[in-house]
Symmetry: C2
Subunit: 415 residues, 2 copies
Amino acid sequence: MTGRKRIEPPHRYRDNDKAVGVGNAFWDLSERNGLAGIVAELEDGVLRTVDTGHEFVNFTCCSYLDLDAHPAVIEGAVAAVRRFGVLDHCIPRSRVQIPALLELEASLGELFGAQAVSAISAGVASAGLLPLIASGHLGDGTRPLMVFDKNCHVSMAGAKAACADESEVVTGGHHDLDFLEDMCKRYERVCYVVDGADSLGGYAPVVELAKLQDAYDMLVYYDDSHSVSAYGERGVGYVRTHSPALDERTITVATLNKAFGTSGAMILLDGYPKHTLRVIERFAGALCYSQPVNTAAVGASLASAEIHRTEELRTLQARLRANIELFDRHVKTEQSGGAYPIRVVPMSDETVIDAGRRVFEAGFYVSPVFFPIVSRGTAGLRVMMRAGQTEEQIRRLCAVLIEVGAQAASQEAER
Amino acid sequence: MTGRKRIEPPHRYRDNDKAVGVGNAFWDLSERNGLAGIVAELEDGVLRTVDTGHEFVNFTCCSYLDLDAHPAVIEGAVAAVRRFGVLDHCIPRSRVQIPALLELEASLGELFGAQAVSAISAGVASAGLLPLIASGHLGDGTRPLMVFDKNCHVSMAGAKAACADESEVVTGGHHDLDFLEDMCKRYERVCYVVDGADSLGGYAPVVELAKLQDAYDMLVYYDDSHSVSAYGERGVGYVRTHSPALDERTITVATLNKAFGTSGAMILLDGYPKHTLRVIERFAGALCYSQPVNTAAVGASLASAEIHRTEELRTLQARLRANIELFDRHVKTEQSGGAYPIRVVPMSDETVIDAGRRVFEAGFYVSPVFFPIVSRGTAGLRVMMRAGQTEEQIRRLCAVLIEVGAQAASQEAER
C-alpha cells in the first residue's frame, strides 16, 4: 500500500466527516433512549409501536392540517391510480407524457396564482434548479453570485458545490441584509437562497428583500415548504402572501409532503416565458431525466387542491391557530405568540433526553434537539402543532412538559 | 452596472451553457416535428394524443415487462394507500416511521438477496450515496479516488462536484480497465462509478471489474436500472447475475420505475454492518431529510415483488426476449442478437427526424437521437421493446422502419 496517494479533501462547501461525526452521536443517543428509530402503526391519528404496542400522539409531524389522512385525499389517490392505470408511464415527459402532471400543474398554478412546475421532492427541485439559476438560465443570462443563507435547509445547501462550478458561491449570515446589499454592489447580479419559513420557526424578511430586489434586480430563491397550506389565503404560504416582488426575480419551491398532505413538490414562478419553462423541464437536473410525481400523488394533490379552494381550508387553518394559541397559553417558549406551528421548549443539554423520554412514556412524541445538533445552551424539545390534535391532547402534553421542566406561561395569559 | 464583478465559472465538472446550448436545439427541433412534447392518454397499452386523437404504440417506454399496468400492481397501490391511510406520515424515518418502508425493504432484500435501502428515485440515491462513498463512510474509512465512467448516466455524473469536495474526482474512458488499474496503483483506494446496463445498450464488464476489485480492493458503484426485473433469475438484473464480487465492494442502485413497474428506487448492498446502514439512512443526503417512497408506490412494489417470485416473471421475460428476437429477425442494428431491450436503428443526421415523423404517423413512437445529442454519423431511431407489444405491432413497426430507410435483416435470419 506504501506510496499510494492519500487524498486530502478540499471541504469548501461540505464535510461529511463533520456531519457524520456530529450527527451520528446525536442519533445514537436518541435511539438508545427510545426517541429515534421508532416503528409504529398509524390509526385514527394515534400511533402504536409495533414492538410494545405503546400508544402516542405525534407532535413532530409536519402535516400541519392533517390533510395527509383526509378521506378525500386518500380517495383522490385511489381514483387517479385507477384512472391512469399506471403509477407512471416511464418515458421523459419532454418526449411523451400522460396528462397527469399537466393536470396537477394547472391546478396548482390556478390555486397559488403562479406558473407551477411539479417535482418529485423539494430537494430534487432545488438540486436541479439552483445550478440552472447559477448559470444564468433563469435570469437575464448573467451568472449571479449565489449567496446561501447560513441556516438554509440542507436540501438547498447541498447544491452549493454544483452551483460553484457554474458561478461563485458564498455563505451569508442569517437574514443578513447588509451583507446582501454589499454583494449586490460588488457583483453584476446576486441570487439569495433562503427558507421562506424556517424549520425551527421564523420567516424570511420578504419585504426588506423585495427592496433589494427592486434596487439591484436581485433574485431570491425561497423554500417555503413549512408554510404552504398552513399559512395565507388558500394556503399560498408566507412568501406569496407577503412578498411584494412576485415576478421573475422571485422563485419559490415548496413540498407537497407537509401541510399540503400528499407527495411531491412544486416550483412556483411568475412572469417567465414558455421557453424558460421548457428549459427548466429539460435541464433542471432530475426534473428532466428522472421519475416524476406518481399518479397516486397527483390524484391526492388534486383532491387536496380542491379542499384548499373551499371553506374547509380556513376551518383547518383556524383549528391549527387555536391549537397553537392553546399551547402558548400553557407553555412559555421563545416562539410564543407567533403564527408558526413549531415551538422549541427550552431544556438543558443534560436533561433534554430524559425529558423527551418521559414525555414519550406519557403518550406524546416530541423531538429532542441538543448539542452538537444545536449550539450548547439552546437544547430543547421541538413540538409541532397540527389542526387535528385535540384540546385534551394539547392540555395533557402541556401538563407533562411542565412536569419535566418546561416553563409555564404566566397565569395572566392562562385565563 | 459598471465596475460590478462579472463571474467566470470554473466548469470543472459541469457546464450548463454547453448542456442547454447543445440540448435545447435538439429538443426544439424534435418538438417542432411532433416528436417531443406529446400529450396522450394511455388505454389498454395504446396511447391516444389529447389534441388530435392520433393513436400510437409507445416503443420508447422503459417498462420492459409492462408491470406498470399489471392489475395486481395497481391494486397493490390502492390497498396500501387504504391500509396506511396516508401517502406519507411526514417525519424523518430516523425518528418515527410507519412500517411501510421496512416492509418494502424486507421484501426487496429477500427478492434480490441483498440488504435493500429504499429511495424516492435512483437519482436521489446516487446524489446522496456517492458523496458518502467519496468521504470514506461506506468503505474502510479511506477516501477513494472517484472515477466516473465518461458515459455514466447524468444522475451519477451530477454528483461529481459534491464528490470533489469530499475526495478527488476524475472522468475515465468508457469501460477503460487499464486506466482503472493505473489509478488503483496510484491511489490508496478507487471507486468506479458506472452503469450496469447502459441506456443506449450494453453491459458493464462486471467479471473484469471483479478482478480489479480483488486485486486492489476497488469499490464499484453500479446503476443497474435498465436491467433489473428484465434480466436474470427473479429479475435480479445484470450486475447481481454476473458479478463475482457481491460484497461490501459492490454497491448497486436501481430504479423501481422501469421494468419493475412502480415508483421509487432501491440501493442493494452486501455485507455491511447495521451501523453503516444507519449512516446511510441518516446521512446519504435526501434519504435522511426528504420525503420517502409513498405508500402507493410501496404497495405497488410489494405486489410487483410478489410477481417476481412467480412463474409469471419468467413468462414476461420470455415474451420480452421473443419480441427482441422478432425485431432482430426483421431489422438490422448493431445491437442485433443481444439480450438488451434497446435497439438504435441507424439513420443519417439529415433523415432521422423525418423518418421518426413518418414512423409516428404510422402509429409508433420511437425516439430520434441525432447530433448534437450523439456524435455526427451515429444518429438513429431508438426503439425499446416490451413484453406487452404484440407480434403484429412489431412486424408492422419493422415494415415501417424499413420503408423509412432501416436496413432489413438478412433473409436467412428472417425465416
